[in-house]
Symmetry: C2
DNA sequence: CCGGTGATTGACAGCGCTGTCAATCACCGG
DNA sequence: CCGGTGATTGACAGCGCTGTCAATCACCGG
């Protein structure tokens, strides 16, 4: 590897001790402004970058955070990751990725093992991992700060999310206002807490409009295309199908639209469809999909910032003050629910 | 952070020196089998995992590899990354992600700076980054091994790819065999070498079938949905449009299909469409898309294995012996080119 | 049984940084 | 001008590992 400038080089060039350079680099207090300036100038001139391995070894911290996920949709992962990376770069933190399987019986053991091994300073949890009380407790026990991405049911951990229930309620209202009365709902994966919230929002809107939630029109999906397609085919293959279907995410909604095409039903004429997430897919299918936009990238960034802040705070053992940050969502009304 | 078992603990428990433990961990030669067994047993029992920071600091290596990319499609990134992570996990290597902008004037400087800073032992380059001779040279100069994902034009670096040209040729043959004579082609992003190869394959197949490549039917796209849609609209909006369109990737093909729907043309009846990549999208749109399947995940894994091998090899300065590994592709014939 | 060879093992320095603690400094009130 | 206080700075140990090199071992042929 190419040789690097070390802290010693900077210290010599600035005529201070390495400890002082270290203080400046770590933005510690009690460094005279003049000294700080001088050191910063040298750092800039020499392009000094602290060695992460050395920092990790010497300090208590590894300057890495972990991102745990279980097969999210590619676009979710890509966006989230982009946001997290951005936040990390600002403070020179590294990101360690860790794909896991939610169903794994040894999930907790494996994760804890990994925490010990990588020494990450904190972890970001994505759905449905954040809905495992056991996992969250294990991470807490290990003394590793953690922030949850998206809504979380049980456990009290800091989280960044949108108001899933309200979003689903507004989307349902949109369908009702468009004249639909017989509206079906495809629930999301039962492991995800967000599934419940989205369903709750749907129910609330229906009740507010004095419409009955027909249990025959509520189906259990799994957030994937094929479950949406299957359910869509079943539902639409009757002469008295609903006039609108609200699927809990875009992949399932795409499945419904696929089924509609196959059955030669026009969308939105004979069947209106709405999804959730605003994935790229939602703009690429025909007709383009009415959906709820979640700022995944910003959610990732905020969650990461929150995590980094709690790491900087030190232990931050006060798990009670679990802050919740809510970001804005946006209804995207497109061709699948209204003629273009 | 939770306390960990160190090499000293293992050494004591196994009654050997830490150096011997180190040898076993690093699979070095010249350790008596009996000793190796004994140490391995203790490692297993104590759940010992070497501290990455310490290894990085003490050794010449950082036990990390880098993945450079410039806004690839989410599914490409997710799959590639999954493959790379798998390969890394096998040998306990870490992965550092680095999104960059191909167009950035300071690209090389930034990348080299990053290499120095992270001390990664090697880098994986994705398109179109791997098509920048300047970048590859800079990385070589820095003495960092690198492997290229997907085909690469200039520069001689190890690479893992599919035979893009042959794949495009076969896809074109499929369209010809389906009876099409007037076939349009949408080229990929000009920065990507693969774009050229796919086009070459198309031209070859046309020539082999004694068909003319009508320059009016060859358009420049940019691998994104909107360029495909735009070109599709322009092309299909004439009374004498081609009967088939081969787009250089799935996103553009989806754009063409979107345009066809909008113009109320039936696919594949009035216009057949083929894409390239077999992204999830290709199965989710209607009709599902005929495309070429690239084993992205396995490409990532192989590329990573290759990189790890060349790192283990030591310097591996012999850039001449640039190995090329070709994986199999597969034609996926679906509804967009043949009635379901 | 002896010296020689290569395999096996260990002692020790040092990678570049942070934490601890002591030394020094600047500046205050009396 | 003096002692006292808190801000500022630096000396030094040590984080857990690998690289170097020397010591020791096993085993060979004569």
């Amino acid at each position: 590897m190419a040789v690097s400038v070390t802290i010693v080089d900077v210290a010599k060039a600035a005529s201070v001790s390495i400890k002082t350079v270290s203080r400046v680099v770590n933005k510690e207090a009690n460094v005279r402004p003049a000294t700080r300036e001088k050191v910063l100038a040298v750092i800039e001139r020499l392009h000094y970058r602290p060695n992460l391995s050395a920092r990790g070894l010497a300090g208590k911290r590894s300057y890495m955070i972990g991102l745990l996920y279980d097969s999210p949709s590619p676009s979710y992962l890509a966006n989230l990751q982009a946001g997290v990376l951005e936040a990390c770069q600002d403070v020179n933190y590294g990101l360690a990725l860790r794909p896991v399987a939610y169903g794994d019986a040894e999930l907790c053991t494996k994760v804890i093992d990994w925490l010990r091994h990588t020494m990450v300073d904190g972890v970001l949890l994505t759905p449905p991992l954040c809905d495992s009380v056991a996992l969250i407790d294990a991470i807490k026990d290990a003394g590793v700060p953690c922030v949850v991405v998206s809504s979380t049911g049980p456990g009290s951990v800091p989280a960044v999310m949108i108001d899933e229930k309200e979003a689903a309620r507004q989307m349902t209202q949109h369908l009702i206002q468009s004249g639909h009365r017989s509206i079906a709902f495809i629930k999301g994966h039962p492991d995800h807490y967000a599934s419940k919230q989205r369903f709750d929002g749907f129910v609330q809107a229906m009740q507010e409009a004095a419409l009955t939630v027909d249990t025959d029109l509520v189906k259990q999906g799994y957030f994937d295309f094929s479950s949406g397609k299957k359910i869509g085919e079943d539902m639409l293959n009757t002469h008295s199908h609903p006039t609108a279907i609200f699927a809990s995410n875009d992949d399932m909604a795409a499945g419904v639209i696929h089924a509609a095409h196959r059955l030669k039903l026009s969308v939105p004429g004979e069947i209106a469809v709405a999804g959730f997430d605003d994935t790229p897919l939602s703009r690429q299918i025909w007709p383009s999909l009415t959906t709820v936009r979640q700022p995944i990238r910003r959610i990732g960034q905020s969650a990461c910032d929150m995590l980094l802040a709690s790491i900087a705070d030190g232990g931050c053992q006060n798990a009670d003050t679990s802050t919740i940050e809510q970001l804005d969502f946006e209804l995207k009304i497109r061709g699948s629910s209204a003629p273009e």
